[in-house]
């Protein structure tokens, strides 16, 4: 009977009469959420309050002991500070760089499309792949970048030098974020009302004054958005990048919160500590997510 009518003739209501159909259609998504989100979350919640024996045979309830232990440990404090510094520094650098590049490219008379395309590439690569590129470039003795550094008199060995390992992670992260920020700033610049920039030209705002007094404030909504996105990228999506570049080393020098969580869970098999850390991270993600929604909702009218 359904086949005898054209689709356009059906009333909208007749499609979803069954009670089971919506659930059936939702099922794949619900299953994914349950398996990859709900179940691990519940496991983490539970693990945070239990201690298993060495052979995984028995468990006992330990209350807040894991929390106290994690929050009180020097390693966790170190990872927390390191992560904050890492997140703030990379976000600030790539915001400033992305903005400067976008403004510079917008001001070009020709070749804008070329630059936009070129600057897009790092963004198109997965973090782990760009990290692999950087590993390749900065492998001591053989890498092109490493060679240049040696040439400049730097004794390059990020596998041993904490500062160098941190610089390498920093540079790779900024490189990737820069592309993203450049893209967003570029789009925002192009959508500014031309008459505002023309008014600025008539008022005599040029060069640095134009950027500082007019363009930067007008792009404030984009900046707010990017601050949050950059921070969440650095905090949560850089595991692969660090894993490829330094594995958190040398001596925990590049061990961010996410990386430490991974180490504790899969190298040290400390389920309780890992569960606590994942809960704390989840709080952070949620906080940033809420912040982002708030900011998006009250975008400054242009």
């Amino acid at each position: 009977m359904g086949g005898s009518r054209a689709a356009g003739e059906r009333l909208p209501g007749t499609w979803f009469r069954g009670r089971w159909l919506p659930w059936l259609l939702l099922a794949p998504q619900l299953l994914v959420i349950a398996v990859f989100f709900l179940w691990p979350t519940l496991r983490a919640l539970r693990d945070a309050f239990y201690q298993g024996d060495a052979f995984g045979l028995s468990e006992e309830f330990v209350g807040l002991r894991h929390f106290a232990h994690t929050l009180g440990s020097a390693e966790y404090g170190h990872a927390l500070l390191l992560t904050l510094a890492y997140a703030l520094l990379t976000s600030a650098l790539s915001l400033a760089g992305g903005f400067a590049l976008a403004v510079a490219v917008e001001g070009l008379r020709s070749g804008r499309t070329l630059f936009r395309t070129l600057f897009l590439w790092p963004y198109a690569l997965a973090p782990a792949i760009s990290a692999a590129l950087w590993v390749f470039l900065f492998r001591p003795q053989v890498g092109l970048g490493a060679g240049l550094l040696e040439h400049a008199g730097v004794h390059w060995n990020p596998a041993l030098q904490a500062g160098q390992a941190q610089a390498l992670v920093l540079a790779t992260t900024v490189w990737q974020l820069l592309a993203y920020n450049f893209l967003f700033y570029g789009a925002a610049l192009q959508s500014l009302p031309p008459s505002l920039l023309e008014a600025a030209a008539l008022d005599g705002a040029r060069g640095w004054r134009r950027v500082r007094d007019v363009i930067w404030p007008l792009l404030a909504p984009t900046t707010l958005f990017l601050v949050v996105t950059d921070l969440s990228f650095v905090l949560f999506d850089t595991f692969g990048l660090i894993d490829v570049l330094t594995q958190g080393g040398p001596d925990h020098a590049t061990e961010t919160l996410v990386y430490k969580l991974y180490e504790d869970a899969f190298r040290n098999f400390d389920q309780g500590a890992a569960a606590v850390q994942s809960l704390l991270l989840m709080l952070l993600v949620t906080g940033l997510g809420v912040l982002q929604l708030r900011l998006q909702r009250r975008r400054v009218p242009a």
């Binding site: 009302p193 008459s195 505002l196 023309e198 008014a199 600025a200 030209a201 008539l202 008022d203 005599g204 705002a205 040029r206 004054r209 007094d213 007019v214 404030p217 007008l218 404030a220 400054v300 009218p301 242009a302």
Partner: protein, 356 residues
Amino acid sequence: MATLELYQVCKHFGASTALTPTSLQVADGEFVVLVGPSGCGKSTLLRMIAGLESPSGGEIRIGGHGVNAQEPSARDIAMVFQNYALYPHMSVRENLSYALKLRKLERAEITRRVDWAVDLLGLQPLLARKPAELSGGQRQRVAMGRAIVREPQLFLFDEPLSNLDARLRNHMRVEIKQLHRRLGTTTVYVTHDQVEAMTLAQRMVVMNHGRIEQVGTPEEVYAQPASTFVAGFLGAPPMNLLAAHISTDGTHVLVDDLAPLPLPAPQPALAGRAVTLGLRPEALLPAVDGRWPLTLNLLEALGGELLLHGSLGRQACVLRVATTASPWREGDTLRVDVASTALHLFDAASGQRLAP
């Protein structure tokens, strides 16, 4: 204050021509209105004067100096944009003073000028607000304030009233006119609204398809339109344009098979020619013993006056009659007279004015 001169200024965007070579002289202190339908090149011309577009050819002079190579800010002009283009992140006071700060004027001078503009435009209560907290009319006023504090040589307005409702538009129109009386600054004002053009202009420039159709005072342009385009563009409702031809002896104009209409003066040169006869709606007068019959299709009562839509011979035609109550009804045939001094003749093919 300054003169403005354009010599053979033109503009192409790629293969398309926005403005054919155009020359125009604006006297010191004059208020000139560029008027024409959307897309005719008014904004392009204004933006070239401002320096926001560079001309494809020709020369622009302000106060006798060629400015083609000068940046917008060096031209000593101020422009009011259609969407006002106020800085959304600055307060009204900051919007007003920004250009002056950039010019490194002394603080006392900045304050003096801003206070003066604020007084003139009644902006006092708005000074601390951001543009988003202003109504359309208030934004418009702030945009004008931002222009006048600069005490420029030249004011440029690009359709500054088209985002306002009709009432406010009338009000601001009067304000702009008074402002010009007080300041006497040379002004070029762009609009597509013929009422704005007629009421504001000391001299109006009617444009069409990237060229100037006619330049003159509003009275001149209204009384002697240079082409059927100008005739049809000005006046509400616009002039009736009827296909007609001149009698073989050059003394009468013939519309369809209506009674011949004598010309105010014989035109032997036009004898037998196909022409367009232009008659303003108020030049056709109902009269009991009128020359022509008019079949009435539609009546529009506008309060003080009446618009009669009908047909003369086979051609549509509108009359404007100053009366409140209509003695006629739709479907009636009435007789109308033509004041023979009020007729306009245009070439049927080119649309250019022929006589009188």
